[in-house]
Every structure is written in structure tokens, then in C-alpha cells.
């Protein structure tokens, strides 16, 4: 099969000491940002991005993607040992992981988490290996209206499916689009929204927004909550690992279900966070040990971790094939791809064959490397969290500032980061989502191009988005997603008027 051939080529490309070294560095940095409060995977990737400009794209993407895997693993360490989710997507892991650690089963919980994470990720990569070429071939037939419809579908799904209030999601998204519009217009070359201010000429970069919103905003929230790290001790011996591995095969059904949930949520813009929660609640519903959930049930660790990682990996499928990231981190990586001069989307598979398959091959290897590295370094990273906040916090802030500065070597960006930091704090407290803002800031120009091209084709008629069955069904699906909360309410009202009435009376 051609996929296997391509994969072997990719393997040959990445099996060099240089690339394996980059993987280990990426994973270590990833665990570090995953463990530290205020730094997460999107933030870590954004911070590292300026340093990759001089690298080969393949090396750069290996470094960044391994950082992503490392951050996902690091998030589980803090959830299990400290009851603090290092990443939003590992919140569900705290439900049973921390109780297990308190019962003295920290080693078992960590081993189960990491192993199921690896298996989840592998399912995601398999999906990527065998589906990506097909989806890319299918998407080759897309022209501007289809692309805009796909973007529309992604954005509408965010609004309709998000746990956050829809209007707040719209506000966050539009701020992202407005950011992307500042500076040079990609079609006409005209300067726009600069208000004659020289510091707006080069535009507002999404990296700075990521660093401010996720980094500084997170630190401010942490300070307000007065977080104290009171962690459980972890001792992982080879015996613990082997004993846990021996117990794991009996949970194959949970794995399979969680991996499927993860892949689905990762490909659609539900993201790893939604996937892990959904998988946890499904596992609780179907488990034989239902009563033990929340008190330290290993199945309650396996389910969210598997889903989290399979969603994290499969989020790269729409990113590579269609140019639409399934998570905030994938959005930042997509931005990186564009900075390196690559064009995410179906043509990537033809023009950058080596890059794509190098990346996919590195995902197999990178996840295995992650498991080994993370098992070996848990005690080290757990001790990092015991460093007092008054040392860790200013260092994180320094790293964020340097990261924002190094995007364009400009002090203005550091000030901008500060503004985004304050905004991030307010956003977080008031339930505005951050991911749509980042997504829109990265994709804004491309979505606008697609829209304007379509308008050119049709002479300004919106009907072009229903001009053939493909684009028509995409657009209709997008609108359905957008109004899903309303539709669901109407359906519920139609089906269950009686129950609703009874509840109102009582």
C-alpha cells in the first residue's frame, strides 16, 4: 500500500540522531510546560515558534509536535499527583487519578494514564496514516467556496457545540478575525485597520495573543485562587509498571470506546477537553465498578487519558488535510506551518510529501519516546512543582515576555501581551472561550481570502455557497451546527412538553 511506503520513507527520514534528539528535547520541554501552571501546550508551542524559523520544517515540526505530546503527558502528572490539571483537557483525569494517588497508588495511576495515553495516541496516528491521503485527495477538488464552507463549518461548530455561551464565543471569535485583518490586506496589498499607527503596520501576531491569554491570564487566575501545591509522592519502579501493565488488558473495551470518542472529537473541532469529559462519563455509565468512580477507579483514569491523546493526535488530521486545526495547539502549529512558508491543506500532501510523512512517522516514534521519557522523569518533574510559587511565577512571566518579544523583536509585542493577559483573566472569569479567538486569528486571512474569491466568482451572490451539492451540504451543516442549541431546545420542547410542564409545576 502506498501509505505504508510513504510511512517507511518518513521513518527513514526521521531516524537520525539529530531528529531523535529533537524529540527528546521536545518531549522534555513539553512535560515542563504541561507541568508548570500558566504554561500549556498552545503557549509552549507559541513560545518555541520564533526559535524554529531557522530550522528545517521537518525538524521544526518534530520539535513542536513532540512538545505537544510531552505537554499532554505532563498534564496528567499534575492531575494525578497534585489534583491540579496542568491542561484543561486533563481535568477529567483528576476525578479518579488524584484519589488513586491519595490511596497510595500513584505509581499505578501514572502508569495506567501514560500507557493508555500512548495507545490512544497510536489510534489517532493510525487514523491519520490511512485517512489523510484520502481526505487530501478528496479536498483537492475543493475550490474557494468549498474551503470557505469548511471554515464556516469549523467556526459554527465552535459556536454551537461550545459549553460557553454562544454570544461570548462569537465575541471571542470576532476579536480573533479583527486581529487577523490588521495590517496588510493579503488580496489587494492595501494597509488596513492601522489608524496611521506605525506599530500596527506589521499586524498583530497570534503568538503574542496566545502567550498573553494563556500565559499571563492563567498566572493571574492562579494567584487569585491562592493555589497551594500539596502533592502526593510518586514512586515508579519497574515492578509497578509491569504489575499495572498486567492488569490493563481487561479494560480493552474502555480503551476502544475512548479512542473512538477521542478521534471523533479531535477531527471535529470538539477538541481534547470535550473528548476526555465525554469519555469519562461514558466509562462511568457502562462500567461494572460504577460505584467506585471518583474514589480511585483505574478505569476512570484510562478513559479520559485515552480520549485526550487520541483527540490530540487526530486534531492534526483536519489541520494537515484541510488547513483547519481541531484544537488551540493545532492552531498555533498551523500558524507555524504558514510562517515556515508551507501551505496547509490538500496540496501539502503533494508538494511537501517528505514533510507530511516525516511528521506522521515522527508521531509514532515521538509518542513511544514520550512514554519512556515521562516514566523516567516523573519524580524530577514532580519536584519542580514543589518549587515555591514566588520563584516559579516570575520565571514563567519572564519566559512569556521574552517569548512575546522574540516574535518580531519588538517591545510593543510585550505590551500587547500584557493587554491580552488582562483580557485573558477577564475572559476566563466570565466564561469567554479563548480557543476560538486563536483559531480565528490564525485562520482569519485564509477564511477571508476564500470568502472574497467566492464572492468574485459569483459577483457578490451568497447563493454560490449552495451552488453544488458538496458546498451546499457543507454550508447547510454549518448553519445547523450554528443553531444547534436552539434546534435542540425546540426539539426537546416538541418531544417532552409534558415532562417540562410537570417539572415547572413542581
Amino acid at each position: 500500500m502506498s501509505e505504508i511506503d510513504s510511512l517507511m520513507q518518513g521513518m527513514a527520514l526521521i531516524l537520525t540522531p539529530h531528529h531523535i534528539g529533537l524529540m527528546v528535547i521536545g518531549v522534555l520541554l513539553g512535560i515542563l510546560v504541561g507541568v508548570l501552571p500558566g504554561l500549556g501546550a498552545p503557549n509552549g508551542v507559541a513560545l518555541l515558534l520564533p526559535l524554529t524559523f531557522t530550522m528545517e520544517p521537518v525538524s521544526a515540526i518534530i520539535l513542536l509536535s513532540c512538545m505537544y505530546w510531552g505537554a499532554l503527558f505532563g498534564g496528567s502528572i499534575t492531575s494525578i499527583l497534585f489534583n491540579i490539571p496542568g491542561e484543561p483537557s486533563s481535568v477529567a483525569t483528576t476525578f479518579d487519578g488524584y484519589p488513586m494517588a491519595r490511596n497510595g497508588q500513584a505509581g499505578e495511576a501514572l502508569t495506567a494514564a501514560f500507557t493508555s495515553a500512548l495507545l490512544g495516541a497510536l489510534v489517532g496516528v493510525l487514523l491519520l496514516t490511512f485517512l489523510s491521503t484520502r481526505i487530501a485527495e478528496f479536498a483537492m477538488a475543493f475550490s474557494s467556496p468549498e474551503f470557505f464552507a469548511v471554515y464556516l463549518l469549523a467556526f459554527c461548530t465552535f459556536i454551537g457545540m461550545s459549553k460557553n455561551p454562544p454570544l461570548k464565543t462569537v465575541v471571542a471569535m470576532m476579536i480573533g478575525f479583527a486581529m487577523a485583518a490588521v495590517g496588510m490586506d493579503t488580496v489587494s496589498g492595501e494597509l488596513r485597520l492601522t489608524y496611521d499607527q506605525p506599530w500596527l503596520l506589521s499586524g498583530l501576531s497570534f503568538e503574542v495573543a496566545v502567550i498573553g491569554l494563556f500565559g499571563i491570564g492563567e498566572i493571574l487566575c492562579t494567584v487569585e485562587e491562592g493555589l497551594v501545591f500539596r502533592g502526593e509522592r510518586a514512586r515508579i519502579t519497574p515492578m509497578t509498571i509491569l504489575r499495572t501493565w498486567a492488569k490493563l488488558p481487561r479494560y480493552w473495551l474502555t480503551w476502544l470506546r475512548s479512542a473512538l470518542v477521542g478521534c471523533w472529537m479531535g477531527v471535529t473541532p470538539g477538541g481534547p477537553t470535550a473528548a476526555s469529559f465525554m469519555s469519562y462519563s461514558l466509562a462511568r455509565r457502562f462500567s461494572k465498578n460504577r460505584d467506585n468512580f471518583g474514589k480511585g477507579e483505574v478505569e476512570g483514569v484510562i478513559a479520559p487519558e485515552t480520549a485526550d491523546h487520541s483527540a490530540g493526535t487526530s486534531a492534526l488530521l483536519p489541520m494537515l488535510t484541510l488547513g483547519i486545526p481541531g484544537s488551540a495547539t493545532a492552531a498555533v502549529m498551523l500558524g507555524g506551518l504558514m510562517i515556515w512558508g508551507l501551505h496547509p491543506g490538500p496540496t501539502l500532501f503533494v508538494e511537501q510529501h517528505d514533510f507530511v510523512w516525516g511528521l506522521i512517522a515522527s508521531m509514532y516514534l515521538g509518542n513511544v519516546v514520550s512514554l519512556i521519557v515521562v516514566l523516567a522523569t516523573v519524580p524530577l518533574f514532580a519536584s519542580i512543582l514543589r518549587i515555591p510559587f514566588s520563584i516559579i511565577a516570575p520565571i514563567i512571566i519572564m519566559v512569556c515576555s521574552i517569548g512575546a518579544y522574540s516574535v518580531h523583536n519588538s517591545m510593543f509585542d510585550v505590551g500587547l501581551m500584557l493587554i491580552f493577559g488582562a483580557l485573558g483573566y477577564l475572559f476566563k472569569k466570565l466564561g469567554y472561550p479563548i480557543a476560538p479567538l486563536i483559531l480565528a486569528a490564525v485562520l482569519g486571512d485564509k477564511a477571508e481570502d476564500a470568502f472574497r474569491q467566492s464572492m468574485l466568482f459569483s459577483d457578490g451572490q451568497l447563493s454560490i455557497f449552495w451552488s453544488n451539492p458538496l458546498v451546499g451540504s457543507l454550508t447547510t451543516a454549518a448553519l445547523l451546527m450554528l443553531f444547534w442549541p436552539l434546534l435542540a431546545r425546540v426539539l426537546k420542547a416538541l418531544l417532552g412538553t409534558r415532562q417540562g410542564h410537570a417539572r415547572r409545576v413542581s
Binding site: 520564533p50 485597520l193 477571508e448 470568502f451
Partner: protein
């Protein structure tokens, strides 16, 4: 979350309203900017302001929606946004960051960072044993040195050493 003994500083409603007004104004600014460059149909299709105008419009409209929701939903909105004590904590971190960022162009990233970290550690008096001066000096200078080694030497991304850094460089050149 905030302590139960912590007196509330401001109700959530006012913060919601404030943020909604801010985003609505942002939308208006975007619309004005778009109108300036033309939102119509030019020789080569839609003009540059065409798309941003609708972005601004949607932004303002959604913000007004949030504003109305904030005014209508009474019970949830009267809850405290943040306690007085907790907000003091936040300001105690945020204001130093502001000063740090303001000082950066003058003092340079290295010096500003070192002072920032040192001040943060020195201020932490809640600990049973405050940090000694050697530890404070070692960590703050170490962090600045590490950032020099990683960014300037390893990745060849020179960081701004500020007006003071330039003066040092000039003085060093004069001595030589």
C-alpha cells in the same frame, strides 16, 4: 475560589457590562477603520474593508447581546466577581508585571528580568524562612544568564539589552 470571609469587591454584572461595552467599542473601531478604506465593491471585487466591516458589525452586535443578557439575568450577576483580598493578590502580581514591561525598553530584558525575579522573591514574606540574599541573587541572575545563553548564543535571537545595555556597550568600547 475566593474565600468566604473575603468581602466582595465588585458584582459580576458590572464586570460583564464593562467587558461587553469594551468589545462593542472594539467592534465600532473596526467598523470605522473598515469604512475608511472602503467596504464596497471595487474594480477587483470586494474592497479591503468589506470583510472586516462585517466582522466589526458581528462583534458589536454580539457584544450588545451580552450586554442585554448581563442586564437581564439578575441572580447570577449579583454574585461577587472577585473578593477584595483575592483582587489585592492579583494586583500584587499584575502591577509588578506592568512595571517590568515598562522598564524593559530602558533597563533591557536581562536587567529588568533579574530585578523582577529578585523583587518577587524578596517580597514573599509569608514563608516561615524568607529567602536569603545569596539565593535571591543566584536565582535572579541565573535566570537572566540562562536566557542570554539560550536565546542570544544558542538560538541566535538577540534580546534587547535596553538603553542601559547600550551605554555599557559604549563604555566598554571607550575603555578598549
Amino acid at each position: 475560589m475566593s474565600n468566604t470571609t473575603d468581602t466582595p469587591l465588585v458584582a459580576t454584572r458590572w464586570v460583564e457590562i464593562g467587558l461587553a461595552l469594551f468589545t462593542a467599542a472594539l467592534g465600532a473601531v473596526v467598523m470605522v477603520g473598515a469604512v475608511e478604506i472602503g467596504i464596497g465593491w471595487g474594480d477587483v471585487g470586494p474592497e479591503a474593508g468589506y470583510f472586516p466591516f462585517y466582522i466589526g458589525l458581528l462583534l458589536s452586535a454580539a457584544s450588545v447581546g451580552n450586554l442585554i443578557l448581563a442586564l437581564l439575568r439578575t441572580p447570577a450577576m449579583s454574585a461577587a466577581f472577585v473578593g477584595r483580598q483575592a483582587f489585592r493578590q492579583v494586583l500584587a502580581v499584575f502591577l509588578p508585571i506592568v512595571l517590568y514591561v515598562i522598564a524593559m525598553p530602558f533597563a533591557g530584558i536581562y536587567l529588568a528580568s533579574a530585578v523582577f525575579i529578585a523583587w518577587f522573591m524578596w517580597r514573599d514574606r509569608q514563608r516561615s524562612t524568607p529567602y536569603g540574599i545569596p539565593i535571591v541573587a543566584a536565582i535572579s541572575c541565573g535566570a537572566a544568564l540562562a536566557s542570554y545563553l539560550i536565546f542570544a548564543l544558542w538560538f541566535k535571537v538577540p534580546l534587547d539589552s535596553g538603553v542601559l545595555g547600550d551605554l555599557v556597550a559604549v563604555a566598554g568600547g571607550a575603555l578598549r
